[in-house]
C-alpha cells in the first residue's frame, strides 16, 4: 500500500492533449474516483499510472518511488481491473487468480493458500474449476477482484468495472467493491463516467474534462461547492440551474446557479428564512414516483434549450399546476456565483440579496 503522487502529467497523442497537466495526490488507502465525460482523459491517466502508456512529461510516484518510463507495468506493484474484466478464457477461475502469483514464482502451496483466501473473501469457492464463459457478470467481477488482490498490490486501478453489469447488479457490486476496499485498505484509483458511482464510492472525486482536473475534493465539496461551471453542470441530476446576469443578484459578468432540489415553492420555506424568490413559470410537470421534476422558465429568461428545473421530493405534497406562474424560492446560502468568462466560482457579492423578480 502506498500513496500515489502525480505531478504536472502530460500525455499527448499526435497533437491531441489527452492528459493536459494533471496534479493529483492520492493518500495511502484512499479511494479516489476520476470522473468525467467520455474522452476527458481519465482512462488515459489511469493507463499512464499503470505504465501502459508512456507519459509525454511529468512524474508519477507510487509510495515515494518514481515510476519512470523504464518501470514496466509488471514492476509497478499495481493491480488493474479492466472494463471487460479481461479474464483469460482458456484458464479456470483458479488458473486466472493464480496467474499473477505464478509470475512471481510463488511456491505452489502458497499459491493454493492465497487463492483460497481470496475466493473465500468473495464467496466464489464453488467456481474454482469453472471457466470464465460459464460465469455471470457479477461472478466475473469477483474473479477479477480476486486476481487483483492476491498480488497484494500497492495500488488498485479500476477502469469502469461496473459498466458491464445491469442496473440492479450494479448497486450490489458497488457495495461489495466499497466494502472490499475498506477491508483491505488498498489505495484505489477508480475511473467512471457515472456520477452516482463516483459519489457513492469515492473518498474524493477528481472531476476531469479535456485532459484537466477541474476539481478534486470530497463528494460533498464537489457537489455543494463546485469549483467552476463545468463541475456545477456535470455533477448533479438534473444539473445545476444557471441564470445569466440578474442585476438584482449579481453584478454583470457573473452567473448565478442553484441546484434543482433547492428550488422549491416559496410556501415550503418559513416566513423569516433568508430566501431569494423568483417568479417561476412551470411549463411541464414530470411525475417520477419518488419525486417530481418541473420544467419551466423565470419570466425574464425564456430559453427553451435550457429550462430551469425544479426537483420536488415526494414529501412535498403541494399542488403545482403546469402553465401557471408560481412563486418559487432558493435559500440564499444555496446560491452559487460563477465568473461568466472564466467559469470559475466567485464569492457571493454580499449586498445583492433579497427579492429578485427582475
Amino acid at each position: 500500500m502506498a500513496a500515489v503522487e502525480i505531478r504536472d502529467l502530460h500525455k499527448h497523442f499526435e497533437g491531441h492533449r489527452a492528459v493536459d497537466g494533471v496534479d493529483l495526490s492520492v493518500e495511502d488507502g484512499e479511494f479516489v474516483v476520476l470522473l468525467g465525460p467520455s474522452g476527458c482523459g481519465k482512462t488515459t491517466l489511469l493507463r499512464t499510472i499503470a505504465g501502459l502508456e508512456e507519459p509525454t512529461s511529468g512524474e508519477i510516484r507510487l509510495g515515494g518511488r518514481v515510476l519512470s518510463r523504464d518501470v514496466p507495468p509488471r514492476a509497478r506493484k499495481i493491480a488493474m481491473m479492466f472494463q471487460s474484466y479481461a479474464l483469460y478464457p482458456h484458464r479456470t477461475v483458479f488458473g486466472n487468480i493464480a496467474f499473477p502469483l505464478k509470475a512471481l514464482h510463488t511456491p505452489r502451496d502458497e499459491i493454493e493458500e492465497k487463492v483460497r483466501w481470496a475466493v473465500r473473501m468473495f464467496d466464489i469457492e464453488r467456481y474454482l474449476d469453472r471457466y470464465p464463459r460459464h460465469l455471470s457478470g457479477g461472478e466475473r467481477q469477483r474473479v477479477a477482484l480476486c486476481r487483483a488482490v492476491v498480488r497484494e498490490p500497492q495500488a488498485f486501478l479500476l477502469d469502469e468495472p461496473l459498466s458491464n453489469l445491469d442496473a440492479k447488479q450494479r448497486t450490489t457490486a458497488r457495495d461489495e467493491l466499497k466494502r472490499f476496499q475498506e477491508d483491505v485498505g488498498i489505495t484505489t484509483v477508480y475511473v467512471t463516467h457515472d456520477q452516482v458511482e463516483a459519489m457513492g464510492l469515492g473518498d474524493r472525486i477528481a472531476v476531469m474534462n479535456a485532459g484537466k482536473v477541474h476539481q478534486f475534493g470530497t463528494p460533498a465539496e464537489v457537489y455543494e461547492h463546485p469549483a467552476d461551471i463545468f463541475v456545477a453542470t456535470f455533477i448533479g441530476l438534473p444539473p445545476m440551474n444557471l441564470l445569466e446576469s440578474i442585476e438584482a443578484l449579481a453584478p454583470a459578468g457573473m452567473l448565478v446557479g442553484f441546484r434543482p432540489e433547492h428550488f422549491l415553492p416559496r410556501s415550503a420555506f418559513g416566513e423569516d428564512e433568508d430566501v431569494t424568490t423568483f417568479r417561476y413559470h412551470v411549463r411541464r410537470v414530470e411525475y417520477l414516483g419518488s419525486e417530481r421534476y418541473l420544467y419551466g422558465s423565470l419570466d425574464a429568461h425564456e430559453d427553451p434549450e435550457k429550462p430551469i428545473i425544479a426537483r420536488l421530493p415526494a414529501m412535498l405534497r403541494l399542488e403545482v399546476e403546469a402553465d401557471r406562474t408560481h412563486e418559487f424560492a432558493v435559500h440564499s446560502g444555496q446560491l452559487r456565483y460563477f465568473d461568466e468568462e472564466s467559469g470559475q466560482r466567485r464569492d457571493p457579492p454580499g449586498a445583492a440579496r433579497g427579492r429578485a423578480d427582475a
Binding site: 499503470a50 505504465g51 501502459l52 514496466p72 507495468p73 509488471r74 509497478r76 499495481i78 493491480a79 488493474m80 479492466f82 472494463q83 471487460s84 474484466y85 479481461a86 479474464l87 483469460y88 478464457p89 482458456h90 496467474f99 499473477p100 509470475a103 512471481l104 471457466y131 470464465p132 464463459r133 460465469l135 457478470g137 466475473r140 486476481r147 498480488r151 458491464n164
Partner: protein, 287 residues
Amino acid sequence: MSRYRLMRYARRVGVYVAALGFVTFAAFPFYWMALTTFKQNKDLYVSATNLKHVPWIFNAAPTLAHLKLLFTQTAYPQWLLNTLLVVVAVVLITVVVAVPAGYSLARLAGSWGEGMGIGIFLTYLIPPTLLFIPFSRLVAILGLQDSLWSLVVVYPTFTIPFCTWLVMGFFRSVPWDLEEQAMIDGYSRLGVFFRVVLRFAVPGILTVVVFTFTLVMQEFIYALTFISSVDKMTVSLGVPVALVRGDVYHWGALMGAALITSIPMAIVYNLFMDRFVEGLTLGAVKG
C-alpha cells in the same frame, strides 16, 4: 398429402440432390485415381472406336502391377521421404519466422504495421517464373545446386510473406485487454506472448502449417530448376519426370503416386479442420 407437405419433401429432395452433386464433384477425382491405379493396361488403353467399353468400372480383373512399377522401378519412396523432409523444415522455418513477425506487425509496429504487412504480402504475388532465374544464381553462390537444402532455403521466400500476413489477422483478434492485463499481472512482453497470445493464435498457426504444407507439396518450378538427380527429387517433380517418358504416360503408376500422396493429406486436413473450427468458436472475453 397437403401442398405444404409436398413442398417440404421437394425441398428436402433438392437439398440431397445438391449435396450429392458436391460429393460427386469432390470425390470423383479420388475415385478416378484409385480406378486407374488398379486397372490393367488393356482396360486402360482402349481404342476410341470401341463404344462398348465402359471407362468408370473394372472391365478386367484389378492388378497391382502399376504400384509394383512405382515402388520398384522408380525412386518414389525416396521422393516421399524428400518431400517430407522439405515440408517439415519449411514449416518449421515459416512458423518460427512468420508468427513473431505477424505479432510484431499487428501489435508493435503501430500504424506502420498495416502497410508493412501488405508490402510483405505483395512479395508473395511475384510469380516463381520470374524469380527462379535470380534464385538459381543465388543457389549457385551458396553451393546448394542439386541439394534438398536449396528448396529449404527458397521455399520460405513465398511461404513466409503469405503466412506473416495471415497470422497478423489472427493476432489482431486477440483482445488488447488480455495482453495488458497479463503485463500488469507480472509478465514481460515475451511472457505475455507465450502464455496468453499464443493460446489464441493456435488456429492461426495451424492454418499457417496447412498452407505451408500445401504450397510446398505442389511446388514444381523451383524443384525442377534446382534439383537434377532423381534420388533428390520431391514427389511433385519426380512423378512427372520419371513416369512421363517422351509421350508415354504411365497412367497407372502416375495415378498411384498421386493417390498415395493425397490420401494422408486429406486425412490431416480433416483433423486440422476440426481444430480450426474449434479455435474460431473459442469463448471471447465478454460472454
